[in-house]
């Protein structure tokens, strides 16, 4: 095999070179700082765990796409984490089971899958998020939305747009108001997922769900449409909850509602949201309410993904930082003083080193940096 194919990276995996790496670091730091300022403590779970503990902490987690292998020590199957939320759930249910509630935790780290999504080839992603454990009420949901917006704003995202959803709406309605046969629930969900009015009307009992398709769009109009659906009061508390959450958002984001949106909400319960911003084509993050299985504890939280955030924020956002070139024979103490003042320095190893070629903006002349 020749060298050029030897060095190829597998599809969906990439190097972050200096400019992008700097942008990623800046975004991650900004988001974590925002979460920290709301009193969320950072935790650092391991990269690899037993498959079983990653798979059963929340509803609807599928371990099939995780990178899995056998642990030579325990002979059990281990998996690379594909979502850190599950790990935080485990921590809350075990190591921090006795910590006072509500428990506020945040995290940032790499996650990986063996097979990428159809539309997004990335198999490794940087996930940043926060979880509020012990409560999934309106106040908690409101707080988590506010923390998510603060994290995005601090990272430099503009024109933020928030899409709200009610992930368990089909279960709630199918229970009494618009009954469905067990077999048809999956069909109704699938047609709602593609917003296919034609297909929905063909499912027995599916017609009753059509109004959900029209209750989507800018929040004020959509919530009014949703309120007019007569479901015997089954939705009243959820609608009221959404209104209170949106009241607190004010003008920080454009708010839309899509009550039947389920994409990316595998384990969420009554409330979910998707974040969009600026020119990014995809979602920047998602969040909502869920239950941590085992202790069956309610929680709310959100996760942001850095790649779409890079698209929204741009990797030019940080201005070129000045660098001082230190010629051969410079005074080390002066250089140290400059670094302590916050300058970046780049030292010549020999006289053949060229300040401009090495990307320096200044040069040390006598005791101080002079622009090149």
């Amino acid at each position: 095999m020749n060298r050029s194919t030897d060095d190829l990276l597998p599809i969906g995996l990439e190097d972050r070179l200096p400019q992008q790496a700097a942008a990623v670091t800046r975004i991650m730091r900004a988001a974590l700082t925002a979460m920290d300022s709301f009193g969320y403590d950072r935790v650092r779970p391991p990269l690899v765990e037993f498959e079983q503990s990653l798979g059963q902490r929340m509803h609807g987690i599928d371990t099939r796409r995780m990178v899995r292998f056998t642990d030579p020590e325990s002979l059990r199957t281990m998996a690379l984490r594909s979502d850190m939320t599950v790990q935080v759930g485990r921590i809350a249910a075990t190591g921090l089971a006795d910590a006072p509630r509500p428990l506020r935790l945040c995290y940032g780290g790499e996650v990986a899958v063996l097979q990428a999504d159809q539309l997004d080839p990335a198999r490794q992603r940087l996930q940043i998020g926060a979880e509020l454990i012990g409560n999934d009420g309106v106040e908690a949901a409101s707080e988590i939305v506010s923390v998510a917006l603060a994290a995005l704003e601090r990272a430099g995202a503009r024109n933020i747009s928030l899409d709200l959803t009610l992930p368990d709406i089909v279960d709630v309605l199918a229970d009494q108001a618009f009954p469905l046969k067990a077999d048809d629930i999956a069909s109704v969900r699938r047609e709602l997922d593609t917003k296919d009015a034609g297909g929905l009307a063909q499912v027995p009992g599916g017609e009753a769900y059509l109004p959900l398709l029209y209750a989507a769009g800018p929040f004020d109009e959509a919530i009014a449409t949703l309120s007019r659906i007569d479901a015997g009061g089954a939705l009243a508390s959820r609608i009221e909850g959404l209104r209170q959450i949106v009241d607190k958002i004010g003008t920080r984001a454009r708010v839309t509602l899509d009550p039947s949106e389920r994409h990316g909400f595998e384990y969420q319960s009554w409330f979910g949201f998707t974040l969009y911003a600026g020119d990014a084509r995809g979602a920047l993050g998602r969040g909502g309410s869920y239950a941590i299985l085992g202790p069956d504890e309610p929680a709310v939280g959100f996760s942001l993904y850095v790649d779409p955030m890079l698209e929204a924020v741009g990797d030019e956002a940080g201005e070129q930082r000045p660098i001082v070139f230190l010629p051969v024979g410079h005074d080390p103490e002066t250089a140290q003083r400059l670094r302590e003042e916050g300058w970046r320095t780049r030292a010549a190893l020999s006289n053949s080193c060229d300040a401009k070629a090495l990307g320096c903006s200044h040069q040390l002349v006598d005791d101080s940096p002079a622009p090149l």
Binding site: D117, Q118, L119, S161, D163, D193, T194, K195, D196, A197, G198, G199, L213, G217, P218, R254, T256, D258, H263, T274, Y276, R281, G282, A283
Partner: protein
């Protein structure tokens, strides 16, 4: 000026029926679009903020799913085949009616219920696999891009899965339809993120919905 919108339409079957529906919803292509000798792939419309692209049906779904085009028209066969998670199909346009079916040679039909493995020529490997899996049969698909009707007679596959509108092509090639998989109509499709972040997309969906409602009333 707002960012430009791209509307993707499929070459062939559905297009002639789609143009009047699009016109009623306010999407009218420039005259060059109708000029058969024009080799352009992108066309202006009467709306300043919208361009039209004419691509293969399967590519309409791909362009829209990736957000390269925000909105388009395509048959529900294509929507089902890809099952792209970022694609919505909010309006059934009630045009381009046909259905997807399994067909096999009129002479010499194998009995399906005793076979666990079938070789099938189709443009729709995903739908085909799902259809047969649900019946406990492993379908081995040979992907063709057209003219599947000749596959059984040449021994490439025992059966085909293809679109049927009148059934004439099957008949001419000595095939009979043995199972109906699904009814197909053309759908307006939109990109998920575009619908949620760009109010113009929601307006277009409403316009197409209204056009459909008016047509239903007239019928």
């Amino acid at each position: 000026m707002p960012s430009p919108l791209t509307f993707a339409v499929p070459k062939g079957r559905i297009l002639d029926e789609a143009l009047p529906v699009m016109a009623a919803a306010g999407v009218v292509p420039e005259d060059a679009f109708h000029d058969k000798s024009n080799r352009s792939l992108t066309f202006a419309t009467t709306r300043e903020d919208m361009a039209l692209i004419r691509v293969r049906a399967f590519d309409v779904a791909t362009f829209v799913a990736h957000g390269a085009a925000q909105i388009g028209i395509v048959g529900s066969d294509v929507v089902e085949e890809f099952a792209y998670s970022d694609l919505y199909a909010p309006v059934d346009l009630q045009i381009g009616h046909c259905h997807l079916a399994v067909a096999e040679p009129a002479d010499g039909i194998a009995v399906t219920d005793r076979v666990s493995h079938l070789r099938i020529a189709t443009k729709y490997p995903n739908i085909t696999r799902r259809h047969f899996e649900a019946r406990g049969i492993q379908a081995e698909c040979v992907k063709l891009n057209g003219a599947m009707e000749i596959a059984p007679s040449l021994g490439l596959a025992s059966r085909i899965v293809d679109l049927v509108s009148t059934g004439q092509t099957l008949k001419t090639n000595g095939l009979v339809e043995t199972a109906h998989i699904m009814d197909i109509t053309a759908r307006l499709i939109v990109n998920r993120a575009a619908l949620k972040t760009d109010a113009r997309i929601a307006e277009l969906v409403e316009a197409f919905r209204a056009t459909r409602a008016a047509a239903d009333k007239a019928a």
